[in-house]
């Protein structure tokens, strides 16, 4: 599929690397020739330098034949304009990054319609939603929902003394009396799709699926506190912080935001009457302690600097804050921090990249069983995908035990007639089902790819 990406910043380059790896023909446009040069050196894409809203530039990139046009420059207005022009030139689908809160208000639907956008994405809002989900289940490293929020997949890190440690998977389900499925295990550098004989160890990061109600029960049985975070401290008054604080205060949590710019503090104060806004430099430990860091349920570090976020998260952990989350945009830093013991991190650019890759895959096969939802698990080593089954005789009607799936494929959940099923060997896939598949080491485009 031919895809054009305007803007090769953090988000743009993450996107073009994952889309090029998916095998698409990607053309990147950026106003800075040196950026274009370095990008074409690293990735197998074509580069055009120039203004992304300039017809001549778009023409050179071949916007008239593009099936997907994505504008992710730093400026909302430029994104909207270049999507609008590309759409008029003949690009079939356009996606613009629109991040200003005022555009994301009531005017969004109108603008999207008038500009002919297929989708608008707001990285800060998406990141805030992910943070909000995590704070609802503070014990999880990450939580994703499927099938209209009926299924959940959470990533947990097993600590010493967890009842899972030392158990074989085949015995776990009976021992806990609830229905759940362990789909992925990350140990050392590798990611495994475990079978019944797999034995869990302390330090493993596991991904498990269950229905939302079963999940509550399971976590209780495991002795993991699952109270949602009631008192949250947010460092840095970014847009993500604003969206997150709004969601948290609306559900009754207490939020304290620490921000060092007076003007930003004033704006936050106006927009978030229920939150407590503190003006001060959050990198000073004294200030954090004075504001009661030690008694918080959760600490979320959202400053613009990855390094600050990581270091302050370690400080918060040392003060025994139960849940600590850092925003880390650079993948290599995130991986290092995790090795040092950082528990949970969010990366806005990876969240967007998930969303757009899913969109591209759904475009590619609107005939078969298209991808409904896609999440990257275990730092991108595995994927969880949700499909709607459109009647494929090769896989439907066969008990899962007899289905010859490829290595690294696991059917993690089936949602049939509004009822979630955690599948065992006797269950089968039927037309009309929503199916959740975990895939490690391969990229699925269609449900039939699993056999």
């Amino acid at each position: 599929m031919k895809i054009i990406i305007v803007g090769c910043g953090k988000v743009g380059s993450t996107l073009l690397s994952s889309l090029a790896l998916e095998g698409h023909d990607v053309v990147a446009i950026d106003s800075d020739p040196t950026v274009v040069d370095s990008i074409t050196n690293i990735y197998d894409v074509m580069g055009v330098s120039g203004n992304g809203a300039d017809c001549a530039v778009l023409d050179e990139a071949g916007a008239d034949k593009a099936e997907l046009f994505i504008a992710v420059t730093g400026s909302d207005e430029l994104n909207m304009l270049s999507c609008f022009i590309a759409g008029k030139m003949g690009a079939s689908h356009t996606i613009a990054r629109i991040r200003k809160p005022e555009y994301n208000d009531r005017s969004l639907g109108f603008m999207r319609q008038q500009l002919g956008l297929s989708m608008s994405i707001n990285p800060e809002l998406l990141a805030a939603q992910e943070l909000f989900n995590i704070l609802k289940f503070p014990s999880a490293v990450k939580i994703e929902t499927f099938a209209r929020r009926n299924f959940a997949m959470i990533e947990l890190r097993l600590r010493d003394g967890s009842p899972f440690v030392g158990e074989k998977l085949s015995e776990l389900r009976a021992a806990f009396g609830t229905k759940f499925l362990i789909c992925t295990v990350q140990r050392g550098g590798g990611v495994y799709i475990p079978d019944g004989n797999f034995e869990l160890q302390a330090g493993d990061k596991i991904g498990l699926t269950a229905t939302l109600s079963e999940l509550q029960k399971l976590l209780k049985n495991m002795g993991i506190p699952q109270k949602k975070a009631k008192h949250v401290m947010i460092l840095g008054g970014s847009r993500t912080a604003y969206y997150l604080a709004k969601m948290l205060t609306n559900t009754g949590s207490n939020v304290k935001i620490i921000e060092k710019e007076q003007q930003v503090c004033d704006e936050l104060c106006d927009a978030l009457p229920k939150a407590v806004v503190i003006h001060g430099d959050g990198t000073g430990q004294e200030l954090l302690l004075e504001e009661g860091l030690a008694s918080m349920d959760a600490f979320v570090s959202l400053t613009g600097m990855d390094e600050e976020n990581i270091l302050l998260s370690f400080f918060a952990s040392s003060q025994e804050v139960p849940k600590v989350i850092a925003k880390v945009n650079r993948d290599e830093l995130g991986a290092m921090a995790e090795r040092l013991g950082l528990d949970t991190k969010v990366s806005p650019k990876n969240i967007i990249s998930d969303v757009i890759v899913r969109y591209a895959r759904a475009l590619e096969n609107s005939l078969g069983s298209p991808v409904e939802t896609l999440y990257n698990l275990m730092d991108g080593a595995a994927e969880a995908l949700e499909f709607i089954v459109n009647g494929d005789s090769r896989i439907t009607g066969i008990p899962l035990r007899d289905l010859p799936t490829k290595r690294g494929i696991l059917i993690a959940g089936i949602f049939r007639e509004r009822k979630p099923i955690i599948p065992s060997g006797d269950d089968m896939i039927l037309p009309g089902d929503r199916v959740i598949v975990i895939a490690a080491g391969q990229r699925l485009r269609d449900l039939s790819d699993i056999v």
Binding site: K2, A20, D25, N41, D44, M46
Partner: protein, 479 residues
């Protein structure tokens, strides 16, 4: 440095060479010749290649520009060393250094030969000799990229090291598709030429061999007088195709798949045909007293200009006997070469144009110290870095040419022969003047000089840097 990936890629390339060797093997078989030399070579190429692939599975496929250069330089050396075996094993060229020279000359599309009479070669060997031109013309690595699904996501580094020209861009987003399109155009043009030569009454074998020589802008002929005894129709057809293969292939892509008109705006194309037209006129007028016929002098002049400018090296007349002015023009054309992104050698027209524009801009700056000016090529401003790299390339080019000339001067042939041999081999043309003129061969040079010239041909074809990095000690130290 990712040594495993280098070895692995080399292994893959040798496997490809083994497959390519099947073609001359089949040709030899059709003519009922002894093809044992090809069987042995193909098997050893496949064997060594597979060994490399097996002993060196890469831990990571990530490579950088440095590895790209090394892979290309080593690949060309290894493939030439293996490609020389059929000549040597069949005893048709009994000396291995001679066989190596001939093969390097083939792959680098130079066309300089040590054979006084190539018509004595068997069909299979003669076919392989010209087939190396065709393979080397567009580049063996580009061929592999078109054939093997993604050697590496960063294969652009390898491609860039092999493709000539100051700026190498992609036609389409994926490197593999770009390689495929280039080869598609290349194959199609070669087939058209074969058909047109057959129509002119040439037999299929000769048509194929001469078309390979033209397409790769190589110049190996299978008769001692190159193209001298052909009919005017065949000579003119070859002239046209020599010029066509000297045009940037990107322009053909634009012509076929995009708007055809935009190629008329190409500055390089205009310069190319402008220089060609001027040279043809000068030489035609200059040689008119010798041939006493306007149509003959024009035909001979056009053929020779096309042959030298595209760095092919065919000849229809012994231009060694032409007046001094014609020889001087031809010698200058050897430097210019044809367009970047074609199969030709030389400095490339775009570099020459760019150098002239840079000189003009810098002269203005000397006269008006506060003068602000940019250098533009094809309607786009050329940034300082590209300008610096072109100037640097030119300096290096001149320096290396001088060194080659110096190393050849141990031979007792005099300045004209040695200098023209150095220029001709370094620019991948083929014939020179004096004792290495179109009517004679490189057979009289010593083994040492033949190796120097082989090296010169590799330096010229790969545009210096890959070979230079290969011999630089700092590339190999672990620090």
């Amino acid at each position: 440095m990712n040594r495993r990936m280098i070895l692995y890629t080399l292994g893959k390339l040798m496997q490809i060479e083994a497959i390519l060797l099947v073609v001359p093997l089949a040709v030899g078989g059709i003519y009922g010749e002894n093809v044992l030399s090809f069987v042995i070579t193909a098997l050893s190429a496949a064997g060594i290649g597979t060994l490399f692939v097996l002993i060196s599975p890469p831990r990571t496929r990530v490579i950088y520009a440095k590895e790209g250069f090394i892979i290309v330089a080593l690949a060309w050396l290894f493939l030439s060393a293996l490609g020389a075996l059929p000549f040597y094993l069949s005893r048709e060229i009994p000396n291995y250094v001679d066989a190596f020279f001939e093969t390097v000359s083939g792959f680098t599309t130079t066309g300089a030969s040590i054979l006084p009479d190539p018509s004595s070669l068997s069909h299979g060997t003669a076919f392989w000799r010209s087939f190396t031109h065709w393979i080397g013309g567009m580049g063996i690595i580009v061929l592999c990229m078109a054939m093997i699904p993604s050697l590496s996501a960063r294969s652009i580094h390898i491609m860039r090291a092999e493709m000539p020209g100051p700026i190498v861009g992609k036609l389409v987003p994926r490197a593999r598709d770009t390689a495929k399109i280039l080869y598609l155009i290349y194959v199609a043009m070669t087939i058209v030429q074969i058909i047109m030569l057959c129509v002119g009454g040439m037999n299929l074998f000769d048509s194929a061999v001469y078309s390979f020589g033209t397409a790769g802008t190589g110049g190996f002929a299978v008769s001692a007088d190159s193209c001298g005894s052909f009919t005017p129709y065949i000579q003119n057809t070859i002239t046209v195709f020599m010029f066509l293969f000297g045009v940037n292939f990107n322009l053909y892509y634009l012509l076929i798949f995009k708007r055809g008109r935009s190629i008329l705006k190409s500055e390089e194309l205009w310069a190319y045909f402008g220089i060609a037209a001027a040279s043809i006129t000068i030489i035609a007028v200059n040689i008119y007293p010798t041939y006493k016929s306007a149509s003959d002098s024009l035909r001979l002049s056009a053929f020779q200009v096309g042959s030298i400018m595209s760095t092919t090296g065919y000849s229809t007349a012994d231009f060694n006997l032409w007046p001094g002015l014609s020889k001087a023009v031809l010698l200058l054309l050897m430097f210019f070469g044809a367009c970047a992104g074609s199969t030709a050698g030389g400095l490339k027209i775009s570099r020459v144009v760019l150098l002239i524009k840079m000189i003009r801009c810098n002269l203005r700056k000397l006269i008006h110290p506060r003068y602000v000016g940019t250098v533009q090529l094809e309607g786009k401003t050329v940034n300082e870095e590209t300008q610096r790299s072109v100037a640097n390339y030119f300096a290096l080019y001149a320096f290396i040419l001088g060194s080659i000339f110096l190393l050849l001067s141990f031979e007792p042939f005099g300045i004209e022969t040695n200098l023209s041999a150095a220029i001709s081999c370094f620019n991948n043309v083929g014939p020179g003047f004096g004792f290495v003129g179109p009517a004679s061969s490189y057979a009289d040079y010593s083994a040492f000089s033949k190796l120097v010239l082989s090296f010169a041909m590799l330096l010229g074809r790969l545009e210096i840097y890959p070979v230079l990095f290969l011999i630089a000690p700092s590339t190999w130290s672990r620090k």
